[in-house]
Amino acid sequence: MAAHGAHPPGFAHQFETVTQQREAGTLGMWVFLVTEILFFGGMFTSYIIYRSLHLQSFIQGSHELIVRYGATNTAVLIFSSLTMALAIRTAQTGKSKGQIIFWLILTMILGASFIAIKLRFEWYRDYVEGLIPGVSWLDGGTHTPGVKMFMCFYFFMTGLHALHMVVGLGILTVLVIMTARNKFSSQYYAPLEISGLYWHFVDIVWIFLFPLLYLIGGRY
């Protein structure tokens, strides 16, 4: 047992050892991600059912989306997962806090870019064109009830995802502050790792969303 008085930074007293704490934290994050899978899963299931029932409408609706923005965002997020992993690696190898913060901030910039691209080039355009059900929907032409259903799913799913991104940005902010306050070292960087799991999960959800929403029906 560790000698009395040797409290590693961040040690929580309900645990007996640092190892126990780290394992508990990691397991906790994995269990949380499982709940997130079930949460998004309900929507994905509904999406799959309606897509098979209304395929033509979904193809039509998908063609209202702009693939190059979705593809750019996919690249942005994948790259942000890389920078996040590098932040963790930097901490693991005992580099300076400045370097850790560099990668964290880069991750945040990429995440923010994702949201900015969505808002400015996609959602704002959808708003102007009357493609947001319940907010700015305009009937007529290609805006059939089936397309309205598709756009519902598009906004519900990408909206929920964007919300998770924003939460992720909040978490990253907290991590930056913690790093700046010297909380982490090569011995202790569990919060970075656990937050990394969350960030990668949000990335993976997008990897599923992109083809399901943007690439239906082919058009090339």
Partner: protein, 325 residues
Amino acid sequence: MGLIQSGLGSLAAMIPLQPPAASTTAAGIDNLYLVLSGITAFFTVLIFSIIFVFMIKYRRRSDDEKSAATHTPLAVELTWTIIPSLICAVLFVWSAALYVQNGRPPASSTEIFVIGKQWMWHLQHSEGPREIDELHVAVGVPVKLTMTSQDVIHDFYIPAFRVKKDVLPGRFTSLWFQPTEVGTYHLFCAQYCGTNHSEMIGWIYVMTPTDYAAWLAGGEKTESLAQQGERLFTQFGCNSCHTGDATAHAPSLAGLYGKPQKMANGETRIVDESLISQAILVPNSVHLPSYQAIMPTYQGQIDSDQMVRLIAYVKSMSSEERNGK
């Protein structure tokens, strides 16, 4: 003694144990119910008695008394796992067989359309008469109900016949029964549907065939359901596209009902009431192979009463007819 007997007798009269059994399928369900009750009673009494005996025999007699050691022979665990499993297997098979059998209406069934709406039932005979919250039928004649809702989910329940089925908006469900006893029986809505759910009730009148024929003939003269549907077919302009010609933009409807229809995504659906109503109300969701999406939607223009008439008309179009009528 006689007093007790008559007391119990009147108590029994006040508390009936089962509803009247007035359809061909009721007895089968009642038998299964009886067996299930017997199994429930048996295991309840078994567990209660064993516990009762143990409670007395093994009550603690002194505070330092010790219990016997616990051994868990696998044979015991397997026995009381396997025996209930076998009982359940038998019950499942018996019940499933009944259910499947009871799900098949005889081909000779009289067809009646039912529309549920907050908070009443419209029952529409094919010959034309319409009833509200009441249904007259002949004893011994099978009846098939094809049902839809105008608004929310309802449920059509006749306890005496042991039949029940949800009634859904936007599609049709069906149930059938064959009454065996002349009489008057409850009709209930059994899916909560809003404020007056408990008042969406009515009566089923089972009559002798002669009385039924008299009842059918006695009301005010109306056209048959299909004839009314034909007039609506013209009124709503359906005949302008569905002319029955090979050159028409819209498919011919003659002889279509009941046939399998291939859809654009490769799946095959039977042309039933639900598909027809879907095609009229949400045409863009019915993707035929030559999908062109030019049929206008009649959502909000055709209510359920009109819908059943149109469907009756489509059903009536035999394959010999061309050009509508």
